[in-house]
Amino acid sequence: MNGPMNRESQLREGNIRIPSGCAISGMFSRNGRRMSGETIVKAMTVMHDRSNGLGGGFAGYGIYPEYKDAYAFHVFYDNREAKEACEAFLEEHFDIVNLSKIPIRKNPRITDEPLIWRYFVIPLPTKLADFQLGEREFVARCVIRINTHIDGAYVFSSGKNMGVFKAVGYPEDVGDFYRLEEYSGYCWTAHGRYPTNTPGWWGGAHPFAMLDYSVVHNGEISSYDANRRFIEMFGYSCTLQTDTEVMTYVIDFLHRREGLTMEEVAHVIAAPFWSTIATKPEAERKKATYLRDVYASLLFTGPFSILVGFEGGMMALNDRLKLRSMVVGEKGDMFYVASEESALRLMEPNPDRIWAPRGGEPVIVTLNGKGGEGHAVAD
């Protein structure tokens, strides 16, 4: 018989690299209709066996319309000292528009919760001027600063009008714990985790987020250290040693800082094979070659299916060989993604269309009228 493990003595995410299998799902209303979190929580229940109770989480977009111009920081604290230190830092750098505990409902299967707080913050103009940074870069650096320098404080969500909710537990219990049925958003993503180790810390659960980018991921990328060592040249610090963390930073770097479109981002991280590129017309060939060469170290190899949430859009993407299951479907203005069709059909029993995107081919959906990323790209 196995003895109980001592939580205190267990290594945290970041002290050890833990491979995981997983379940993911997502739903998106192109018309920007706000839907409660109930459906996405329900979708995860049929994929119960793809998780093992050691991590679940959700990201909702459009959930904070009343504070849509403020960055919503969701923070885990190990203790009061960490909270005091973090709040002192926040006060020094931001105007705190609102702060509160994140409301929870006690659930017998969710235990050992940290202190969970939410802050709506706006960068202080004087600080922005001092640092000579754009607003988003400033916020990103503040988040990295807190997470790497304030012991016991961890900002796990930092975008505008969006939020991440995660815990150690099964996804359906996590949804219940955070009372997600009380939030409504135009986009939801979800994750159930099957780590091969016992992480005792909530920060390691997914989604992983930076600014408005959130990533849920099923897989294990074999390129991890090549990606990590490259992205850390640009001020990111991969403290958790998880694939999802590095993927989020890479997507943030390529999309926000390098100005690539999401489709171009997909062509970097799940680049087409040279044999495929060779068959393309010249302009496309040149562009694909350029992206593969310039961002060679940001190619992800190994199995993955990811859902990237971003302001006004969502991208579903598989690795180049499609080594993880992922299906997508449409019904009216709705777009759905899930690791398994059963979960998709729980969200929408009669989709107009359902298909399995090919490896490396992104499916991107955006709010109607948003433009920029263009229409949903199917196939």
Binding site: S223, N227, L299
Partner: protein, 503 residues
Amino acid sequence: MPSPIDYIYPEYEVVRNEGLCIGCRVCERQCANGVHRFDEKSGKLTIDSSLCVDCQRCVAYCPTHALKVVKSDNTFKENANWPGSLVGEIYRQASSGGMLLSSMGNPRDYPSYFDRMLINASQVTNPSIDPLREPMETRVFLGSKPSGIRRGPDGQILTERPPRLTLSTPILFSGMSYGSISYNAHAALAKAAQTLGIYYNTGEGGLHEDFYPYGENTIVQVASGRFGVHIGYLMAGAAIEIKMGQGAKPGIGGHLPGAKVFGDVSKTRMIPAGTDAISPAPHHDIYSIEDLRQLVFSLKEATGYTKPVIVKIAAVHNVAAIASGVARSGADILALDGFRGGTGAAPTRIRDNVGIPLELALAAVDTRLREEGIRGNVSIIAGGSIRSSADVVKALALGADAVYIGTAALLALGCHLCRSCQAGKCNWGIATQRPELVSRLDPEEGTKRLVNLVTAWTREIKEMMGGMGINSIEALIGNRLMLRGIGLSETELKILGIRHAGE
């Protein structure tokens, strides 16, 4: 008269099995060192082992396998502090007053870090990939990366890139000059590079006019003697390499004896026949890093910014800082040469005692360039005893974009590592200019053997990549999590940036 003190019993003895020998005299014809002689009086073949360099030529060519070369059992009185080799070298120097000369790479028993690193493989959580069924990509670009995306008025990405090299597999043949090695060896390297879609390197000896057609697969070298350098030469190659140092002899120059400088060698080097070709220790126009920058840009100006410039340095103690300077010099590619790297001739004491292992230098350089955020300024080629495909995989995982192979390429051509290149009597037709010896190396066969070697290694690299679940080489480069150390100290692990096996 030499003093009897100086007599040293041969280190290796040639042994003939008289029962198998048929007296065909092949050994006599094959040995340029004169070990085997036919004695007319007795009608027998005689052996003078003192002339033998153990190149195995006679052994390989004896039709009845009647010959072998064995280590001599004559021995000085055993002394752990004074091995026989050192005692013998002292006698030689006391007799001659000269520096000891050696060739090929440092043979001494220093630790090989490649042999103390192990490679990862996928199990369960992540599938391995079968290269026979799935694409397995080994294409590598070498050159500086453009910084940031620029778009045209139509919003499309401008796809112009700085000049670069494109390799089908991350292996290049390292610089070996025409003069130090033969015309036929160069021909084989050039043709193999072309067939394989990789590059060979002229070394500092100019480019024979016959090999200009292979220019697209040629790296032309500019070293401290500037031998053979003219605008046609610079324009002929795909890239230009400034050789600042060599792993086998950091800090010193080169010397091709006048005896090897005749005919095409003198013409290609652009120096009179019979003169010693002496490459100075430093470049006399480079006394500091800012001077290097001037040479880099002089070469770029001369070639209209169409060729990437490689700067090759030897792995020495302060290599990371030096590399950082090179990465800011305008160079596109940095070539690092470790202390095990080969040479056609070097002072023995320097070859065996100066410089540091490639693995440590490479890890330190890659780490430093990343810490400074300038790793994208340059690609890294690692050389200095890459002995197998496993070494290639390990070097790439430590951070190299590609590797140079020199010794391994010569072995493919028939070199048996007798380490006597400086004598110019290479029985295998490689490190010699004697026409009758050069003709022993068939360029066509040599090409085939080089192509076979690189193809075999590439297959093995793909298998190892597939095992790791990696299907494109760029995901291996700098991926140190794929390595674990075995039997290494904390300090060694820290420098290599890897964990110990079991961690």
